[in-house]
Structure formats: structure tokens, C-alpha cells
């Protein structure tokens, strides 16, 4: 669907993107992640034809450049922050940018989907940050585009709205819509993204499926006992990779060959185990691990 090949971007003499290549397949949600200033928004702007670049960007085999925007007919986007006309109501803003014959029906539908009904007829100048953000996302979705680009869509959203947005993204994905989403809230991104593109200082670090990125993570067994230091020493002597963390002993899952033997080693010393559970590193740890 979207193919980005060898994307380079310069601001004056400074190169900010270096040979970035990745692909978005139909019906996939791609998380674009990286530190502040890594180049995420710049990549989105080049895809949307509002920032010059060298390289090749194609949507459904149609080339996108700053002079050729035809392919963007089927793209909806929210970049940086929602731009709204303060003198228009939410409904009017949506109506303004809706195309096609059934404009009113499209507007009504997106108002319902984004839970905007209570304030859709109020002027945007009275909106809170969260309301503006939701309207900005609604504007990206209203024309039922096949590709939606969202830059930090969870900004300003409360937990309920964040969950509703996540559910809506998954629903649209099931209907075949592709998404490119950048977000610093990695726990949320982890819940919706199928693929991950990681950028660091303008370089592509990896472009892979979410499961492949998470597979690099280590998992641990966390033991809460009444003698954590003694348990750690004991297990270390037996060749386990162990660390004491706050109120528990963290044992690397890879170093455990036989769970029964490990438990016996602890219980045989008459040490009480209060809690035992497994912990998997999340996307945040993956990202930090990959970047560092």
C-alpha cells in the first residue's frame, strides 16, 4: 500500500533523515517510534507531501512529492496538533472537509464513532485540549481513507477517550484501514500496532512486526519471599541469573531449565514464598534496548 524507499531529508546543510525505507501493508497498524527529534513527524510530513525530500514515496503505486498530491485523496491525517477554525462548530468543521455525496451521513457517523455528540454543535473556540484532539482525529477519519496518519493521537486524551480511540483504531483496521501512528505512550501503541518502525537520530533502526520486536525482550520470574537476599545468593550459587529488585528476586527466564528444581532450592531452605509471577519486558524496554 505505502512504500517509502531511501528517504533522505535535509534542512539546509543538516541531514535529518538517512535512507529511511519501510512499508505499510493494507489493514496493518504501524507504530512509528523514536525519541524526540528522531524524525518521526518529518517522515509523516514527507509522506503527506508537505516537506521536500529525496527518495521515493508511493501510495498504491502512485508517487507522492510536494508537487504531486493526487494519491493523498485516500489519506487522512492529524499532524502535530489539530488545526481548527474557532468560529466553526465541530460539525461544521467536519462538514467543511467531507467529500462525496453522503456528506451529512459521514459526519454523523464519525461524530458518533468519536463520541463527539455532546459538543459537536458548539464552536471550536470553546473546546478543551482533549475535545480538539478528538475532533482532529475525526477530521482524519471522516472521509473513510484507506490510510490514516496520526501524530501523537493520544495527546490530551483522558483514559476513557484513549481506550475508545484504541477500540476505534482496531475496528477500522478490521475494516481494512491502514494506520501509521507515532506515539510516546508506548503501552498504548503496543496494544494496537502490528508492525513497528523505530527511528533514531534520523536513521532507521528496525522495521519489523511488533511480535518480532517484543521477542527480543527477556522475560523474568519474580519471586517474593521473606528472605530475598538469601534466595538471590542461593540461586546465584546454583547458576541462575539473579537480581534483587525492591521487594522481589528477579530470575532471568532463560536461566531456568527446571522450575521444580528452582522451587525446591528455595523451599528446602524453609523460606516462605509469598508470591511468584512471570514478567515480560514491554515495548518501552525493547525500544530502549534497541536504541541504546
Amino acid at each position: 500500500m505505502l512504500k517509502v524507499n531511501n528517504l533522505d531529508k535535509w534542512f539546509g546543510k543538516k541531514q535529518v533523515l538517512h535512507q529511511i525505507s519501510f512499508e505499510i501493508k493494507p489493514g496493518r497498524v504501524v507504530g512509528l517510534i523514536g525519541a524526540n527529534g528522531a524524525g518521526k513527524t518529518t517522515i509523516m510530513k514527507t509522506i503527506l507531501g508537505i516537506s521536500s525530500f529525496t527518495g521515493d514515496i508511493r501510495l498504491n503505486d502512485q508517487k507522492i512529492t510536494i508537487d504531486s498530491h493526487d494519491a493523498l485523496k485516500d489519506v487522512g491525517a492529524l499532524i502535530e496538533y489539530p488545526g481548527l477554525y474557532p468560529y466553526l462548530t465541530g460539525r461544521e468543521q467536519l462538514y467543511l472537509f467531507t467529500r462525496g455525496n453522503d456528506r451529512r451521513a459521514k459526519v454523523d457517523k464519525v461524530i458518533e464513532e468519536m463520541h463527539l455528540t455532546t459538543y459537536a454543535d458548539a464552536k471550536a473556540k470553546h473546546y478543551s485540549l482533549g475535545m480538539k484532539q478528538k475532533l482532529g482525529i475525526a477530521l482524519a477519519l471522516v472521509n473513510k481513507p484507506s490510510l490514516v496518519i496520526l501524530d501523537e493521537p493520544m495527546n490530551g486524551l483522558d483514559p476513557k477517550a484513549t481506550r475508545e480511540l484504541r477500540e476505534l483504531i482496531l475496528q477500522k483496521k478490521a475494516e481494512g484501514t491502514s494506520f501509521l501512528i507515532s506515539s510516546h505512550i508506548l503501552s498504548e501503541l503496543q496494544k494496537v500496532a502490528d508492525d513497528v518502525v523505530i527511528i533514531n537520530h534520523g536513521h532507521l533502526v528496525t522495521s519489523n512486526t511488533m511480535s518480532a520486536v517484543l521477542a527480543r525482550n527477556e522475560s523474568y520470574l519474580l519471586l517474593q519471599t521473606d528472605q530475598n537476599n538469601k534466595v538471590a545468593q542461593l540461586l546465584q550459587q546454583r547458576g541462575y541469573q539473579v537480581a534483587v529488585e525492591e521487594d522481589s528476586v528477579k530470575v532471568a527466564r532463560d536461566s531456568i531449565q527446571d522450575m521444580t528444581a528452582l522451587l525446591h532450592a528455595v523451599l528446602d531452605q524453609n523460606i516462605a514464598i509469598h508470591d511468584i509471577h512471570e514478567q515480560q519486558d514491554d515495548l518501552e524496554n525493547s525500544l530502549l534496548g534497541i536504541i541504546e
Binding site: 521536500s52 498530491h69 494519491a71 502535530e80 466553526l88 467543511l96
Partner: protein, 258 residues
């Protein structure tokens, strides 16, 4: 382009300032007519009619203000970026704004013409007839129309320059100040410019002289002052206007698509 024009028109009509100004324009013309009735020694009714009850002066202010703030307000609201990342090119986005402004000016001029005729019928029906011959040996209605066209052409040229300035600065103040100043400077210092043109013939090609195109179209004798034939001044008018607009497009593209 049609979609863009529809969207720009929708935004313009929804701006509270548009309706407020339109009502103000109607009230202003009405006030001028009433003023003449109350103080008949101040204006001549024929002059008021010839000048559309001075509506074009007020329209110039509004069009310059709207033209100057078209882009700065989009920047202020953060909406300009969203306009540009759609399927339309930056040139189409900008041209649609300009054409909407042109449409707005045409609407206001049409409204002022209708109001002029209504005020003539209501207040000055017995004072003069529409076929009254004026100094240009035309019926007064024709002279009034020619005068309106002349004012409109001056406004268009001024607007082209203001639109260029609007693309150059994020702030609308320079465009408003220069636009409005230019309007008065031309009215006040035209005589001075004509004297300079008399002394240095090449000065006849300066852009300010082209602002006289409308007036010369209305009164061909003006060519002795502008030192340009009607075709020459028309070519200069179109050439300068085009240069302003093309430069505006180039600047807009460079500033917004980096």
C-alpha cells in the same frame, strides 16, 4: 478546484466579520443618503450616485483586511498545514483563496450597486433621472457603472500587491498597512507622481502609475498625465498584477513546503 472554492466560500460566509461588514456596508450607504437629505449643501445627490454612495472606499478596506489576514489567520489557527496535506497542490490552495476573495469583492460591489439604485429610487427619484447627461457625455447610470469598474480595477491591482505581502509575512500588519496606505498615497500623491513622470519619462512604467488604469479607462484624457496609452497601461497593469501573484505563489510554496 471547485471543492476548494466551495470550502473557502463556506469559511468566508461563516466568519462573523463577513455578515457584519455586509450589513455595515448597507447601513453606510443608507447613512450617506440620509446625510445628504439632512445636509443637502454637503453632497450633490448626482455625485453620491456616481460614487456608489462611497461604498467602494469601504469595500477596499475590507478586502485589504481579508486579503492580508487570509494566510495569517490560517497560521494562527494551525489550519494551513491541514489544508496543504490533502490531494490539492499548494498553488491550488492559494489560488482558491484568491478567487474566493475576488468572488467576495464582486458580491460586495454588486450589493453596493443594487443599494445605489435602490437609494436613488427611494431618496432621489425627483432630483435627477438615470439618463441625465454628465460631464463625460454619458448618461449618469453609465458613468456610475464605469466609475464602479474603475474603482474595482484599482482594488484588484492593490489586492494583488497585498496578497503578495501576505505570503511574505506571518503577521498580517505589514500587508494591511501597506495596502491601505497605498490606496491613500495614490489618491493624494498622484499629482506629484505625474509631475515626476513629466520630468523623467521612464517613471511612467512604475507600478503605482498602473493603478490609474481604471481611471484612464473611464477618462482617456488621463493618458496625457500617465504618459501611457490605454493599451500600454493595460499591459503594465496585467504584467505587474501577474508578477505580484506569481511571486506570491512562489513565496507561499517556499515558505510552507520546506
Amino acid at each position: 478546484m471547485f471543492t476548494l472554492l466551495k470550502q473557502e466560500t463556506y469559511k468566508l460566509l461563516k466568519r462573523p466579520s463577513f455578515i457584519v461588514f455586509w450589513l455595515f456596508l448597507i447601513v453606510f450607504q443608507l447613512a450617506m443618503a440620509i446625510f445628504e437629505k439632512v445636509y443637502p449643501q454637503t453632497f450633490q445627490p448626482e455625485n453620491l450616485f456616481l460614487n456608489d454612495f462611497y461604498a467602494p472606499v469601504v469595500i477596499v478596506f475590507y478586502i485589504i483586511a481579508v486579503g492580508s489576514t487570509q494566510l495569517s489567520s490560517e497560521n494562527q489557527y494551525g489550519t494551513l498545514k491541514a489544508l496543504l496535506y490533502r490531494q490539492y497542490s499548494s498553488s491550488k490552495v492559494l489560488v482558491s483563496k484568491w478567487l474566493t476573495l475576488l468572488g467576495c469583492a464582486l458580491c460586495l460591489y454588486s450589493s453596493s450597486l443594487v443599494m445605489t439604485l435602490l437609494l436613488k429610487v427611494i431618496f432621489f427619484q425627483n432630483k435627477f433621472g438615470l439618463n441625465l447627461q454628465v460631464s463625460t457625455h454619458q448618461p449618469i447610470w453609465q458613468a456610475m457603472l464605469m466609475n464602479t469598474v474603475s474603482e474595482f480595477l484599482t482594488l484588484l491591482f492593490l489586492a494583488a500587491f497585498v496578497l503578495l505581502l501576505a505570503t511574505l509575512f506571518d503577521n498580517s500588519t505589514p500587508a494591511i498597512i501597506v495596502g491601505i496606505s497605498a490606496y491613500f498615497v495614490v489618491s493624494v500623491f498622484n499629482q506629484l507622481m505625474f509631475m515626476l513622470i513629466d520630468q523623467h519619462d521612464w517613471l511612467k512604467w512604475n507600478p503605482v502609475n498602473m493603478l490609474n488604469f481604471g481611471a484612464q479607462l473611464n477618462s482617456p484624457k488621463l493618458s496625457s498625465l500617465t504618459h501611457l496609452g490605454i493599451n500600454q497601461i493595460m499591459i503594465g497593469y496585467i504584467a505587474y498584477g501577474s508578477i505580484f501573484l506569481i511571486l506570491g505563489l512562489v513565496v507561499f510554496r517556499r515558505r510552507n513546503l520546506r
